[in-house]
Amino acid sequence: MAYVAVKGGERAIDNAHAWLAEERRGDPSVPEVCVAQIGAQLGRAVDRVMAEGSLYDPELAAVAVKQSQGDLIEAAFLLRAYRTTLPRFGYSTPLDTAAMRVRRRVSAVYKDLPGGQVLGPTYDYTHRLLDFALAADGTPPPPAPRAEAEAATMPRVSDILRGEDLIEGDGPRETDREPTDLTREPLGFPASRDARLQALARGDEGFLLAMGYSTQRGWGGSHPFVGEVRLGEVAVEIVPPELGFAIDIGDVTLTECQMINQFKGSKTKPPQFTRGYGLVFGHAERKAMGMALVDRAMRHDEFGEEATAPAQNVEFILYHSDNIEGTGFVEHLKLPHYVDFQSELETIRRMRREAEVALHE
């Protein structure tokens, strides 16, 4: 075979992109899916992309889902690469999730509590039977029954327990510094709690699920109860320096999880319940709960617990929770490594030659 130095990388890329575009669209005799359909009917996908893309923009997230053929990590990457070009004007005041307009709120620790249990739109009690009617063109379901919203705010379970001092508080608010932003500053250790929570909120749902799950199976266990999970819309407020007071800039949909964990107490602290916290863009209970478990596991040093499990290792968790980083580095192995491999080939050949000589001596 004659060897010609490889040329044509440029044309290969152009052709690959053309093929990809064709494949993305699929059979043109089938109507194209529109962004509004993705937003309305694939909302959980859009939510996941917003959370892991760490940009709250349902419309752009829907575009990303379409552009990536439903590859949600690829979609989150698209959103992040856009996000990074945006200027950062500031940060919001702390969100008041007690004032959330709740669509769903369940507590596993009290049968009833102020604000009540609100089951909301959940798959929890569906029977997972494929609905073959959906394979045909479905007619819209009848409207769900409606009731008046409770006007009162819905206090967080942590605040209810706080009354008896049975649970740790929120801790003092650090007002002397800006919140950490890992998209602007590199991760450093020891990592502050706000940096950790930011990393988890951007982290991969599957990773947090697996790490949270591992704590339940004895790898850094912390005896969790779901204090509550709530889903709904929360107002975002900022304080523009030129105004000096807070203004409402819009609502975001959030899932919040307050996990309650045992703590036997120490020489300096009486026994008290401790907390793990999860907060995620959109409807994402699985991730919020995984996040809360991992958050609590990483706080082992505050309670003098022995750190033996992966979920308790802050460096391990924070360096490996980001799926954009992970997918990049894993998939970069597809890139050419001829040079490194060649150096390995020559080294192994040399070592084998020398080993063979030694055998014959």
Partner: protein, 301 residues
Amino acid sequence: MNGYNFAYLDEQTKRMIRRALLKAVAIPGHQVPFGSREMPLPYGWGTGGIQVTASVLGADDTLKVIDQGADDTTNAVSIRRFFARTAGVATTTDTEQATIIQTRHRIPEKKLREDQIIVYQVPQPEPLFKLESSRAETRRMHALAEYGAMHVRLYEDITRFGQVAISYDYPVMVGGRFLMAPSPIPAFDNPKMHMMPALQLFGAGREKRIYAIPPYTEVRSLDFEDHPFRTTRAPHRCALCNADNSYLDEVVTDDRGGRMFVCSDTDHCETRQEAGHAGTGEALVREAPVGSAARGGGMKP
């Protein structure tokens, strides 16, 4: 390009990166954490190198991008296009004409000059990571210049194999102070880093680290007095330009053991061919049948 700043990154980000670069140049071989941005190319594709290049690139620069020594590998093409598109700078494949060379896994064969900058793409900036997985701990080890573990690792290779078995990303000491990962260049390229007239910059995007070697800095590959550092290349001549001292790629030409060795540095090879150097153009065949390949990689023309 419409809607984007020159070379993609906004000026504040470039300033932040330049500050990190200045610190890196001031402390040769020391890893400087920086606020690495999310780029429109994936981590692992050269986001660190791209950010460094974007921060030092000017409108009158001429950029060369190589991957595995070649200008035409898909990723090199893609990165070169990225800058042609976002910065509109001149690009070249000619090592001599380039003012900035971004590279993955190679240093050009041609000696670089004082008026050139070479930017390395770095996947793993921490030379100690296989010995100590915690970055908090490796940071401490660097601070104390506590590099005994790496010497032990080399020593263990020598006792087991009679030689150091690291063939790429071979650790170096920079300026006699910092242990540094040279990025996954073949050990063959390590000596080129020593006293190089060009400024060497290293960017690791995913790991959010920048480091540098200023011109004319001492860069020593780690070794022992009785086991001096040695480089490896395929013991052949380039089949296209007949070079006997360049780093070679091995190209498989058939399924019966046929191989052809050609320069990995495509510009070097083409320049030599234009100057009238010609190889045999022939593949090598394996001496022995495949079944007895264990005898070693002996090749003859």
